[in-house]
């Protein structure tokens, strides 16, 4: 009998310990777009050092993260590279809408391997026959924005619709994360890829080169983050967001090529309206 009582006592103790444990988080779960890996790992490290709370990242393509959340996955914070998926999650009631903030802007860049076998030096070269181009799938923020850039180029008489068709014909693969585009270009398997300016991480600097898409054709993507409604640690999550928005966080983002939110050069409102309109058209366009 005493044996049994002892076991019972130990069991109650463990349950109690588990209960008290739940109040003090050991780690925050952050679902984060794959392209933000470098910058957010760095910010997460700072957060860990300052608060003692671990940050557990799940890096993947934003549409994949959204699907996981919609299927019931647990996360405290979701970080997206574009507004579309965040809007959808807000509409569907997964996000605490008051917590959503835009933490950075981003622009499209064409990346080429350093030895540049196809000799691509400007946007026109992308239309040369035989060039192998990678693009994100249309649901991926990077893929979506790349298509908008091509749309803008198509309406410009200097490039025209024929240019867009030629580039589309050169696309050899639609990738599901932007990191895979960068690494395949770095490997030299493809001649060029559409990514964000910020996607060339410090490790990739020696392997790929960026070709800037001029501002008149570029699209500025807004990257939001927010706390999920079912988060067990909303306060801690809020303080993580605070760190991202702080000068320290913003300077890290800037280092990785993001546009910090306090830079006045961006007209957020105007960008938002045009982008959602083009986005609707894109859903219908089929490649090849």
């Amino acid at each position: 009998m005493t044996e049994r009582r002892r076991i019972l006592f130990l069991l109650t103790l463990t349950v109690l310990m588990l209960c008290t444990d739940a109040k003090e988080p050991e780690e925050l779960t952050v679902f984060c777009g794959a392209g933000l890996t470098g910058a957010f790992n760095e910010i997460g490290q700072i957060y860990e050092n300052e608060s003692g709370i671990g940050v557990d990242f799940n890096f993947d393509g934003v549409p994949a993260l959204r699907a996981q959340i919609e299927q019931g996955a647990y996360a405290d914070i979701v970080v997206s590279a574009n507004l579309k998926h965040m809007d959808a999650l807000e509409r569907e009631g997964y996000i605490d809408n008051d917590t959503v903030e835009i933490f950075a802007g981003n622009k499209v860049a064409v990346i080429v391997p350093n030895d540049n076998p196809a000799n691509i030096t400007n946007l026109t070269d992308l239309a040369k026959p035989g060039v192998k181009i990678l693009i994100g799938i249309k649901d991926l923020p990077a893929g979506d924005y790349a298509r908008r850039v091509l749309d803008k180029l198509a309406v410009d008489p200097e490039y025209g619709p024929a240019y867009k068709e030629a580039v589309a014909a050169n696309i050899v693969s639609e990738e599901t994360t932007v990191n895979r585009i960068v690494s395949k270009v770095a490997l030299g398997e493809a001649d060029a890829g559409f990514a964000f300016i910020s996607d060339v991480s410090p490790q990739m600097v020696g392997k790929v080169t960026r070709i800037v898409v001029p501002d008149e054709y570029n699209v500025v993507g807004k990257s939001p983050l927010g706390v999920l409604k079912h988060s067990k640690y909303p306060q801690e999550a809020q303080s993580f967001i605070g760190l991202v928005m702080s000068e320290e966080g913003q300077s890290i983002l800037k280092k990785y090529g993001f546009i910090p939110v306090n830079e006045n050069s961006m007209n957020w409102q105007a960008i938002d309206q045009t982008s959602s309109k083009v986005c609707d058209n894109w859903g219908r366009i089929r490649w090849i």
């Binding site: 393509g61 549409p63 994949a64 959204r66 699907a67 076998p117 192998k132 990678l134 799938i137 249309k138 649901d139 991926l140 696309i171 050899v172 693969s173 639609e174 990738e175 599901t176 395949k184 490997l187 030299g188 398997e189 493809a190 089929r286 490649w287 090849i288």
Partner: protein, 291 residues
């Protein structure tokens, strides 16, 4: 005659003698049986539930409508085409290897055997990166091919190569055991009657082993149909060219769940057909072997 002397002297069951009085064998058996039944049920539920959920979660009308989606059609066509070609290549390449390894001894045979089995154990992502390092544009072989103007990555050929790489062991292993099961007496009889080696192979050995070979080929077909990791790394993801069914499921899951579910259902149905086919074929093979 006194029949009583044949009566067994021990009336008590052995178990009671071993375990002492109060031991109920029947009860113990019952508990054991219930336990085993429970284990089977749990295992069954664990496998059957997700498969059943696929069917329960996808309404039939939207799924059937998705079947006409160009993404689904392209993926289905590409998958069928590449998997069929892969199976053909694997059978042509693998049959001689399997036969030689079943019948002859030669130095380095163990190494060959292990190498053949390697892709089964290798994670597909490793296979993908290995293929890239070999046949990619900067790869060891691909480098020379590229100089000749041949580029494999991001083409349908890359899909087939990835599939051959991962599915060949499934055929070669099965073919080897099938050849080993063919009684040497048949072969010797044919040879003593004057049949050449090649004639014997095609007219004696092959007909006996054929069911095993076919079921091996079906397994290879099924494996190549499901190939994902190596394909997405080596061949990329392009609708109609390299986007096979598993890749299309992965891509569609990020946008259009209906399409993903539809493709998943098609693959489940094909998997069932494959199992049924292999089962009937192997059963027939053993019946043939016995008679």
């Amino acid at each position: 005659m006194d029949l009583n002397r044949f009566k067994p002297e021990i009336v008590e069951p052995y178990s009671r003698i071993i375990y002492g009085p109060g031991f109920n064998l029947r009860l113990r058996n019952k508990i054991l049986k219930t336990g085993l039944a429970l284990a089977i049920c749990l295992t069954m539920a664990f496998i059957a539930l997700p498969v059943a959920s696929l069917f329960l979660k996808s309404p039939l009308d939207t799924t059937l409508r998705s079947l006409h989606d160009p993404v689904v059609m392209d993926a289905l066509r590409l998958s069928m085409m590449t998997s069929t070609l892969t199976t053909l290549i694997v059978v042509l390449m693998g049959t001689p290897v399997a036969y030689v390894n079943a019948r002859f001894h030669y130095p380095g045979k163990e190494i060959v055997d292990s190498l053949i089995d390697l892709p089964v154990i290798m994670p597909p992502a490793v296979a993908g990166i290995a293929l890239l390092m070999a046949f990619g544009r900067m790869g060891i072989v691909g480098h020379y091919l590229n100089a000749l103007g041949l580029s494999i990555a991001f083409t349908t050929l890359a899909v087939i190569m990835a599939q051959v790489f991962v599915s060949s062991p499934f055929y070669i292993r099965q073919a080897r055991t099938s050849f080993e099961d063919v009684d040497l007496a048949f072969e010797n009889a044919a040879r003593t009657l004057g049949a050449s080696r090649v004639y014997t192979f095609f007219h004696v050995i092959l007909p006996i082993a054929i069911n095993g070979l076919i079921s091996g080929a079906i397994m290879a077909f099924a494996r190549s149909l499901g190939e994902f990791g190596a394909t997405i790394m080596f061949a990329g993801n392009f609708q109609g060219r390299t986007q096979t069914m598993p890749l299309a499921i992965y891509t569609a899951m990020q946008g259009d769940m209906d399409v993903a579910l539809c493709l998943a259902l098609v693959l489940v149905v094909i998997s069932f057909l494959v199992i049924a086919l292999v089962k009937t074929l192997t059963r027939r093979m053993y019946r043939n072997a016995r008679t």
